[in-house]
Symmetry: C2
Subunit: 704 residues, 2 copies
């Protein structure tokens, strides 16, 4: 059940526990922040040492507080925290912000302290932010609460900002203020002993005032819930995520910083894409994206026209578009003819349209008016030349008129200058919600994020069609193997299990006795493959337990003897010899692994020697929609090899995506499966797993 | 011979032709810029309409000017330019800046006007900047010349800035001023009818005042000369290049903007790397790189320690380092022990070192003192916490002391805030030449460029060892084929030509008569390949003119007949049948093509189906040093496949690099060769070209 955070974020009264008039006292600074920022409720310092703090009556203890205190902020000695929390609970204060550090981030004692706090939170049903945090802010004019030690109090706006880090949170608040990005709510999660990002996502979903959510995270409190929430919230409010510990060096730092689990960054990328979040990789990028998205004009697609009175900047913008995969298409001949009728002959009528330095406000308006309807968005570069015979505002007014004619098409303006002479130009555009940038690259970055949001919205969010599976039979196969104390399935079991989920496996036969070879050979289609099947034998190929290219009965007999020797030498008790036809087509690998943080993770790649050498693989966190499976397939570098190529027909991507989707379903349905390797999985005329390795979770009954 | 640009950049007197007191007159604005910025020489307006302009005596014509005028700036009607230039030459003014537009950038008339100007420049031996440019600036206090219509006059510094674009140049000047980057000389090249970037590079090489060169280019006036100059200048003064038209969209824009040749961006990248330039891809990046490099502290290598009092920012910095391939190694145990002796137990002693919010100036100094000697560089993040009991300058002073102890190791500081409270902190660091950034990502970008400069300096610049070649014999082969009117060499000719340059080719024999097969078969080592060799037949494989895997005399005979049929069907007059052993190893492709701008360009890649599908290739512009050849080989994505892999030994990279180097030499020595394709080139036990295609330049004697 979602937690009710209304009183936490908009309390009638706030108690600041530990508040002192001493300069440098953290609780004292928080008290002063609450008062200074104009909190509309009542404020109560609590400190046994004082009767008055900063002209406010000070209470000796929590139990002395009058009624109407909905929130307590604790910034006291770590050894006093647990008692104070208990006292708050007894007095009926269920919302707490614990600033104090010295919990799980600092040694064994801290870990124990945090465990006791967690028990208390659960027992007393408390809403706790922190410990080891900077506090919370609600800039809604009806509340105006700065219950934090942030020096920056944001102005009210449409953004909610939830940050796992405190110092970084304050940095971002400063830059939001500088960029005129209004923040309604800020929460620094700290150690997340009580409330996590998910509780706030759930709460924000129902807050109509919030139009954008920005999260800074170093780890996910509960990835599965996070994904469900972002899928839901993201439909109406874009969720921008700065997830750090992105890379190996960073991940090592996270581990020592908050004790969080590290996760491979490729999985995080897949996970955030699947959730529908917008991942950014730097504070700068976050500011650009939020600045662009807050205006809410999302383009239909990515076709863009570039207008400029400065040729070089137009080229730089076009280059940046190419890097960001934004299309800058040639203009239609009819449009070019129209432009030529009023622009000077020196103008460049490609895209970018170089209107040269003499371009007037009328040139800007008319050119934009003629071209914008033929594309999805425009980048307008206007740097007033030394000799400009009009007021620059005239250019802004013309752009605004065209913007109003084309409400669904974002126009991004770029000035190449921060000069104060342009302030009225900037103000008029901002008033009409047309964003203005200095550098062309920033305008392109912003447009790229708008295009990304556009793509997110176009992705079919319809649930995948029901796929019929036989979970019971699959479960029975796994149970039986585990009951026998085995940690892997035989090929035959694996094939059966996969068939329960509609995942195709190459036909096969066992030949146990030499005497059976003649009969088998008579009806076989050559060439054949022979391999040893034994539950204890992983990576058959490396053990010489696979013989390919068998062309006749002699070859078959030779292979049989060779593999028998392998079984004997390796003492594979349940080893059997298995025969398969050799399949044509592209060699792929499909796999599943369990990640400690994200659960079942699917992998897709080109198989054979290349997968090992180039690590050209893509990931998806289960459940994997058919849509995401398709993008997994398309995102590997070697994807061109799956198209029609050198006489081989194109691989059936839809069918392959469905198979990946089913593999995801299987991995969720049967958590007793630890790992799956379908390597190679052949995609040719027939599409089927040629080798199957399915490892099971250790069965505690039999292990140890 | 290098041109003497001394008087152009530091004239005794300047004439501004066309100067008028009317506001909005470009020449008038330039005159006012010259006066306003405090030019130390004499200024002469020239305009038949006025006697006085802005309190200066105005001359009716150039011929009326007194002696001592070294430079004339022309901003007059395009139709008057040529006469004025001629008049200047007659009066002895040989340095000109032509602001006027309407030349090759604007239609056929403009192209003709520019051609006439070019002839005049050559005839009269003039130094001309422009036409169609913004002018030049020399901020040296002894000169103080702003002979341009730029609103921004930079303060004197160590940077020379040469820009092909005017508007972009002015933008960059504005931001240089904002970032406190001093510019000594600024030149906007415009159409380059006279002087190009190369003339200025040559001049700057001898200017001790200049320590850094920044170029904005849309094309290269003369790539070969540019490279020689940057190789020379770059050894002492880093050359930073923002080359636009980087991508396809951008390239299209360049073509229509300045009529320059477009060149594939991968070639430009290789070319700039080979030249030893630092390529940046945005104005922002240029500012970061220049800001970092101007201090001149270049690290030995890329091992970096990160210190922070804000955990999250440390993680973000570590992530950014990983992306930029900057090493953030674990600390030595002895160092960790030392740090643990004075940092609090809550501190994180990994790398980043999280000294937590309580870190004092002494903690900063001591931690930096202990760690910096063990690495090459440091990123120090200091955001004053709410409660900081010292002056922030104390932290700066500590950092400066450690910087002085370690003069060769850059320290990059990051504040996470632009707050004015930190201005003294910033000033003290700047005074000690320690750069300060706001965002951790910017500090990392800056460090990345320092590491790049460090790598450039470490690259062996020694000329490659003399490789013995037989140019005469090679030339004779080519001449003979061209004399016979052929546009390609036979396999045998090609093999001979390559052997003259020490490039190995697989052994081969021709079998012209069926009767010769028996004799050949008797001494052959199978398997064999048979192919049709005919100068008119390119891409043999696609024409069914290659048969592989021949195992015996029967196979040989069958192949012979099949290929004879191909020769007959395709009417290949000089077609012969060629036999080769099948070589083992990795299939590579080595090639050479001539680019219109850059000349001979080498290509390297993995051969076979992959090269076509994945376009995984790298480039080098001839001459290609062995060092660059090695980096070409190592930079393809599939490089791991060339290491020891699945039982195959590692490819001999040194030998392969030497072969590429020799191919470059061949392509320079014999410009009559249009194209070379060695595909496949096999790298196994033996290393040799298996197929050879050498196309020649059309021989004008025989063509048409």
């Amino acid at each position: 059940m979602p937690k009710d955070l209304t009183k936490l974020l908009a309390p009638r009264g706030v108690a600041v526990i530990g508040a002192s008039p001493r300069p440098g006292s953290v609780a004292g600074e928080i008290l002063r922040n609450v008062v200074r920022c104009g909190y509309t409720g009542a404020v109560y310092p609590v400190n046994p040492k004082y009767d008055v703090v900063d002209d406010l009556q000070c209470y000796r203890s929590v139990s002395d507080l009058p009624s109407g205190v909905d929130l307590a902020v604790l910034a006291i000695n770590r050894d006093l925290v647990l008692d104070a929390v208990e006292e708050c609970a007894q007095t009926g204060i269920h919302n707490l912000v614990i600033i104090t550090a010295g919990f799980k981030e600092s040694g064994d004692d801290g870990v124990k302290r945090e465990e006791r706090l967690e028990r208390l939170i659960e027992e007393k049903e408390l809403n706790v932010v922190g410990p080891n945090c900077m506090g919370i802010i609600n800039s809604d004019p009806a509340v105006c609460l700065n219950a934090s030690f942030s020096r920056w109090f944001p102005h009210d706006g449409e953004i909610a900002f939830v940050s796992q880090s405190g110092s970084l949170g304050e940095t971002v608040l400063e830059f939001f203020a500088e960029m005129n990005l209004g923040i309604s709510q800020f929460v620094n999660l700290g150690n997340r002993a009580g409330l996590s990002e998910n509780d706030f996502l759930e709460h924000l979903a129902n807050d109509d005032h919030i139009r954008l959510v920005f999260l800074y995270l170093e780890s996910f409190a509960d990835p599965y819930l996070f994904r469900r929430l972002v899928e839901r919230v993201g439909r109406s409010k874009p969720v921008v995520v700065l997830k750090s510990g992105r890379t190996q060096a960073g991940a090592a730092a996270v581990a020592s910083h908050t004790g969080s689990l590290t996760t491979s960054d490729a999985i995080v990328d897949a996970f955030l894409t699947q959730s529908g979040a917008i991942r950014v990789s730097s504070i700068k990028e976050a500011l650009t994206v939020l600045g662009a998205v807050k205006w809410g004009v999302i383009p239909e697609s990515n076709k863009t026209v570039i207008l400029t009175n400065a040729g070089g900047a137009g080229i730089i913008a076009a280059d940046a578009c190419e890097r960001e995969q934004i299309a800058v298409p040639a203009l239609a001949p009819a449009v070019t003819v129209k432009l030529a009728s009023f622009l000077p002959p020196e103008a460049g009528l490609g895209n970018p349209i170089d209107m040269i330095a003499t371009a007037s406000s009328a040139d800007y308006e008319r050119t934009l008016h003629e071209t914008l309807p033929t594309v999805d968005a425009a980048i307008v570069i206007f740097r007033p030349p030394l000799v400009f015979k009009e007021a620059t505002e005239a250019v802004a007014d013309g752009i605004v008129r065209v913007a109003e004619e084309n409400p669904g098409k974002p126009i991004l303006v770029c000035t190449l200058s921060r000069s104060a002479d342009l302030s009225e130009f900037r103000n008029r555009l901002a008033a009409a919600r047309v964003p203005v940038y200095t550098m062309p690259e920033a305008a392109v970055d912003a447009l790229a994020s708008l295009c990304y949001v556009s793509r997110l919205r176009r992705v079919k969010r319809a649930p995948d069609r029901h796929c019929s599976v036989d979970r019971e039979q699959a479960m029975a196969i796994v149970d039986k193997a585990r009951a026998a104390g085995r940690e892997a399935l035989t090929f035959a079991e694996g094939a059966k299990l996969l068939s329960c989920y509609g995942i195709p496996v190459c036909s096969f036969s066992y030949v146990d006795e030499e005497s059976a070879i003649e009969a088998f050979a008579a009806k076989a289609t050559y060439p054949l493959v022979a391999k040893v099947d034994a539950p204890d034998l992983f990576h058959r190929f490396e053990h010489g337990a696979v013989i390919t290219g068998i062309k006749d009965v002699e070859g078959l007999r030779a292979a049989f003897h060779k593999l028998k020797t392998v079984i004997e030498n390796k003492r594979l008790a349940n080893g059997r010899i298995l025969l398969q036809p050799m399949l044509d087509g592209r060699e792929l690998i499909l796999g599943m692994n369990r990640d400690r943080a994200f659960g079942a993770v699917l992998m897709f790649g080109i198989g054979g020697t290349f997968v090992e050498a180039l690590k050209d693989v893509s990931f998806g966190v289960s459940p994997v929609s058919v849509e995401h499976a398709r993008s997994m397939i398309q995102s590997i570098r070697a994807f061109p090899l799956l198209r029609e190529f050198r006489g081989q027909p194109a691989v059936d991507i839809s069918r392959l995506a469905t198979i990946l989707h089913r593999l995801g379903r299987l991995s969720l349905d049967i958590p007793q499966i630890a790992e799956i390797d379908l390597n190679p999985f052949m995609a040719g005329q027939e599409m089927a797993a040629v080798d199957v390795l399915i490892r099971l979770q250790a069965n505690s009954q039999h292990s140890g």
